[in-house]
Symmetry: C2
Subunit: 257 residues, 2 copies
């Protein structure tokens, strides 16, 4: 006897991780998505603790179908967002057991869409291989919100994640991205862990050409958030201190050759 | 005497353009964004007609602050989404007149986030040059929702817009994107006008290597929508007809060399 498999819902999280107080949940998550989240009993999470915090905020708007403590929340087998390490397909498949037994499941990241700039993609890949239907729910992504706010080329863009931390390697990567942007007329987007925001910003100002445009979006969806774009020349003329405790997305577009 | 300039809000639109009946607005747009939209009296739109349709849906949830007919809605000086042509910075600056006079303004696309895969970026660029604060609101983007649903590499990805229509040029571009994906371990995403979905799909199956993985997301946020990923070999073994009337996002990831 076989039961139909459950669905795997990709549930967006807010971008306000750690903000106190956080902005209202329904400032960044659609009501229909909040309701869908309230109905799910089985979760795969980048981080169980932040998922419980998210579900408490859900519960305040759309009561959870079961008490929070009774929900199944299993973590992806690795910790930090943004590393390029990913769980193995085998490990990911095991997490999908409840879906194979007929339960709808939710996959959720610490911030934004699961599988975008986080290790969730392996679970989605395993779902496709197992014939589990994948449903992507609408929600915020800092990457494209920063792109929209940048005014940089939005018809062709790339997200490259984190740059190398070591100075020489980072400088070389910055020059490569600028050359690529010029050649392809393509905006290049990157992120950094907040405490290194200023270091990356300084390196971009040092190594990019004066005519290249640079955008910085900090704290998207937060009241203190901002998005600014200027040429490197323009940025160099003003002293700018970036916050070291909220996430930023950086974008660059080189002048055409 | 100077007045403080207004803000430029980047207002997300739904992804359900033309769907009848459309899914509820608050399935894809957060409540806080709907409320913000209801308060704006001055709009810059990719398409005035679809903007009025959007505002009618807003009004049903959060009553508009003024009758729809009395709102100012001006169109970007060009028609079709996805062309790489963009309005001049001068033309874009003129559209921002109300913001310079102190009015908050909304910029809205036909679908998804303004300035992403549409001509809105020039207005955002002009806003930054004029010192108008730009606020990106949370909402759906088909590009990253398709990426999330693909299970393909989400730590590094590029969106390249439309491929050439002419067969030889398209085949060459497909091979270039596959080589780039292999070299950079980067997912390559593209879109097509719906009536050419099947033609692009056929070309991808013809020209990509059998081990390359291809994802197709059609009708995101629609009840009939789906996201599937398989190897080219796997796709070739089953006959798949894509809808010719709803938008699709395609993604490819080459096997590492």
């Amino acid at each position: 006897m076989t039961v139909p498999t459950g669905l795997l819902f990709l549930v967006p999280n807010t971008l306000d991780l750690g903000a106190t107080p956080p902005p209202p949940l329904d400032w960044s998550i659609p009501r229909g998505v909040i309701e869908q989240a309230s109905r799910l009993t089985h979760w795969i999470a980048e981080n169980a603790k932040t998922t419980r915090a998210f579900l408490k905020r859900v519960d305040a708007i759309a009561p959870l179908c079961q008490p929070l403590q009774s929900l199944s929340i299993v973590e992806l087998p690795r910790p930090a967002k943004g590393s390029s390490a990913t769980p193995s397909t085998d490990a990911a498949s095991k997490l999908l057991g409840p879906a194979l037994q007929g339960h709808d499941m939710g996959l959720i990241s610490e911030a934004g869409l699961p599988g975008v700039a986080d290790p969730g993609a392996t679970v989605v890949e395993a779902a496709h291989r197992s014939g589990i239907r994948v449903v992507s729910l609408a929600g915020p992504s800092a990457i494209v919100m920063a792109l929209a706010a940048s005014g940089l080329q939005g018809q062709s863009f790339a997200f490259v994640g984190y740059l190398p931390v070591e100075a020489a390697a980072r400088a070389q990567k910055i020059r490569e991205l600028e050359a690529l942007s010029r050649r392809q007329d393509q905006t290049q987007l990157m992120i950094e862990t907040p405490y290194r925001n200023q270091a990356l910003f300084g390196a971009l100002l040092e190594h990019l050409a004066s005519g290249t445009r640079l955008s910085v979006s900090c704290g998207l969806t937060l009241p203190e958030g901002f998005s600014r774009t200027d040429s490197i020349e323009g940025w160099r003329r003003k002293v700018t201190a970036l916050p070291s405790d909220i996430p930023a997305v950086f974008g660059l577009q080189a002048q055409r050759g």
